[in-house]
Subunit: 433 residues, 2 copies
């Protein structure tokens, strides 16, 4: 069999691990594919940069990505550059020309996956992107294929390692956000600018990809409600602990009828309290996990390392093997399956529960006044805990499920009450009865 030729775009943390694994595991990969994998070229921005330890010939490096993609002998294009452009133009070019694409680019998939899927359909080419969500965890293939005979109703994920490291560390040590972030930075779990992680942008992109696959519809990053986790305090974590909960930054994608009974999809990213008995509560440090609920399969969870060069390269290699096999047998994996065309539910329509912590004046009638606000917005209270202090008291209220708009309106009105000195924190509660 002739070798299957790869064009690698990008040679950073993930790319160099892909090169290393292609070399180290070559005999196994050849045996599994039935032909050799051969690197046709590696497109980089700075070809002169020292890459001494990589087991490849220096002549493979080029700055001309498009020229490499267009080469007749290239079968599979592997993109680990990231970002929307120029990656989109490159991959569209490759797919239209019938070359298979393996990409780890979550930003591109989440912002404009449609363009890639259309180009793949046009060129009858494979488009694989397992590494774009939850690193090494085999997640997209199970959603795309294994659960195709079932109806997924909900996907709840911890898909950002940085924020999970910070929250685990706050939970374990009682530290505040700033201290935990600093420690995460020292250990290499947080970047110098952690905005994309702590503000939930990274998780929102992954949520869009997961929701699209789980519900057979198109969801983009712009459809995802997003709230970061920088406001979570040591006090919130302590309060969660008293409730038998912990706090995680979750991405949640749900399918179901909206207020008018119309089937729709709601996708959101925000910090939430979850019971310690929930399988996601045990996910520590920088690990990722995705909890899937399906009508027939019931509850499933996929757990593993969500980032890092080597784990991500494992997912890329798995896709390369699949794409190479298809090339050799002249077949193609199932393409995009977005027949459902489900409308997106706004966050206001999403039914959730709130944990609200208030500093209130300690005088008779306070609870009645506060409870009245909840009642006016048709929000039912599950539990109230009151702890008096010198002049003030703290009220901790947990609601039953209600549309987020009603809960938000309740909080806004509470903020206007004279007897409410301050709203200490508002957190959603997930994963329980």
């Amino acid at each position: 069999m002739r070798p299957v030729k790869l064009a690698l775009l990008g040679c950073g943390t993930v790319g160099s691990e892909v090169v290393r694994l292609l070399h180290e595991q070559a005999p196994d990969l050849t045996a599994r594919i039935g032909a050799e994998l051969e690197l046709a070229g590696i497109a980089v921005r700075r070809p002169g940069r020292k890459r001494g330890s990589l087991p490849v010939d220096e002549s493979l490096f080029t700055t001309d990505a498009l020229g490499l993609i267009k080469r007749d002998d290239v079968d599979v294009v592997v993109e680990v550059v990231g970002g929307v452009e120029p990656a989109r133009s490159w991959l569209v070019e490759a797919l239209r020309a019938g070359k298979s694409v393996v990409t780890a680019n979550k930003a591109l998939l989440a912002e404009d996956g449609a363009t890639l899927h259309e180009a793949a359909a046009e060129g009858a080419a494979d488009l694989y992107y397992e590494a774009s969500v939850a690193g090494a965890i085999p997640l997209l293939r199970p959603l795309r294929e294994s659960l195709h005979g079932d109806r997924v109703t909900r996907v709840t994920g911890i898909v950002n390692g940085t924020t999970n490291y910070i929250l685990s560390s706050m939970d374990a040590s009682g530290a505040g956000f700033d201290e935990a972030l600093e420690k995460a930075g020292e250990l290499g779990y947080a970047e110098a600018d952690p905005t994309a992680d702590v503000e939930g942008f990274d998780a929102a992109a992954k949520a869009a990809i997961l929701a699209s696959l789980a519900f057979h519809t198109r969801v983009t990053a712009a459809d995802v409600f997003r709230e970061g986790m920088t406001a979570v305090t040591a006090g919130d974590m302590a309060s969660a602990r008293r409730m038998g909960c912990t706090i995680k930054l979750l991405c949640i994608a749900e399918r179901g009828p909206d207020a008018r009974g119309r089937e729709s999809v709601g996708v959101r990213v925000h910090p939430a309290m979850i019971p310690r008995t929930h399988p996601l509560a045990a996910v520590q440090d920088a690990f990722n996990a995705v909890f899937v609920e399906a009508e027939a399969a019931g509850q499933l969870m996929f757990y593993g390392q969500g980032a890092g060069g080597t784990p991500t390269a494992s997912a890329v290699l798995g896709d390369i093997v699949a794409a190479a096999r298809n090339k050799l047998t002249g077949t193609r994996a199932p393409g995009e399956n977005a027949y459902a065309h489900l409308p997106i539910r706004s966050i206001g329509e999403v039914v959730t529960r709130y944990h609200i912590s208030l500093d209130v004046a300690e005088r008779p009638g306070v609870l009645a006044a506060v409870a009245g606000v909840f009642a006016r917005h048709e929000v039912s209270i599950a539990t109230v805990r009151q702890s008096g202090r010198a002049q003030d008291a703290q009220l901790i209220i947990v609601t039953h499920g209600a549309p987020d708009a009603n809960l938000a309106a309740t909080v806004a009105e509470l903020d206007q009450l004279d007897i409410v000195r301050s709203i200490v924190s508002v957190l959603r509660v997930e994963g329980g009865a």
Copy 2:
């Protein structure tokens, strides 16, 4: 597009759920496949049996399974009968004729998967069996495809719901085995004859299938070392708890060099203590989970319902969708990939750790004599705990890793010592440093 026609063999718990889901989810399945799925016939032993609630025409039932399989219009044969024969003959017939097969038959796959794989290669047919291991959990497709660019080193699984229910219940309540088994039976988690579950036969079959896929080699049920969990006592569980552990019935498949440095595979099923901090320790009740370690991907875990009609039917349906799509596009999934031909390591060569509980005479020199036995067999002791009682004392010894043969010889010699009144229990310890 013409419909894809299915022959269903068996209509028990799983089969009737397959029929129900095919009916209920028909519009979605058609959209995902691009053609309708149509039941061509259902082979049963007793066609007259009341199946009133099933949404199918009575005329579809037949007792002539082979006749149904041979019908020209049948594209995919779905087998949920179980057992080696006549299932093997039926499926070989189907595969050789180029019909795709979807089966949940772990016994057949584990005893003689080779015959099925060869028939599939002969007929260029698809052979899918996701439902044969860990019910609804997408596990075989990830091992078969997602991790194909990586090297799996170890698979540790809780793959039997009955025994996990029993052990979880012993752990939670302090009950003994008999009491927990009785409760499991009352709740429908244990069969009238629980032998296949509690003696580890069921888990051993699944271990063989997992090991074959993970290591690209052939492993049969006969290659699996098997020890049941009926000897686990409430005292063992209490002892595990004191060590910060719990006890699970594990299937463990490992790849690595044997004593002579030859790459080999060891596969075993036995109860073992694991630390409570291990992700598998949190798997409660009848849930299943499989922990996979791979060189690049690191640690992964797959969690979900391992049994039950509906979850198992979800896995069967996922395979049906894949097989039907391939039929329509004239393609075929990757076949068996058993190029590695790895020898099987005997249990004696497997390196593990023991937790040994001894009733010993309380007199000077006992510990020295006992420790001498360990030293003679080159087994290093990690911890010793001694608890005196009226005339006797109890010694609890946990070893470092050593070949199982050395550990077994140590226990045999201890049993001969006068000062050892009885060997109370011997348990392997897994999943920790």
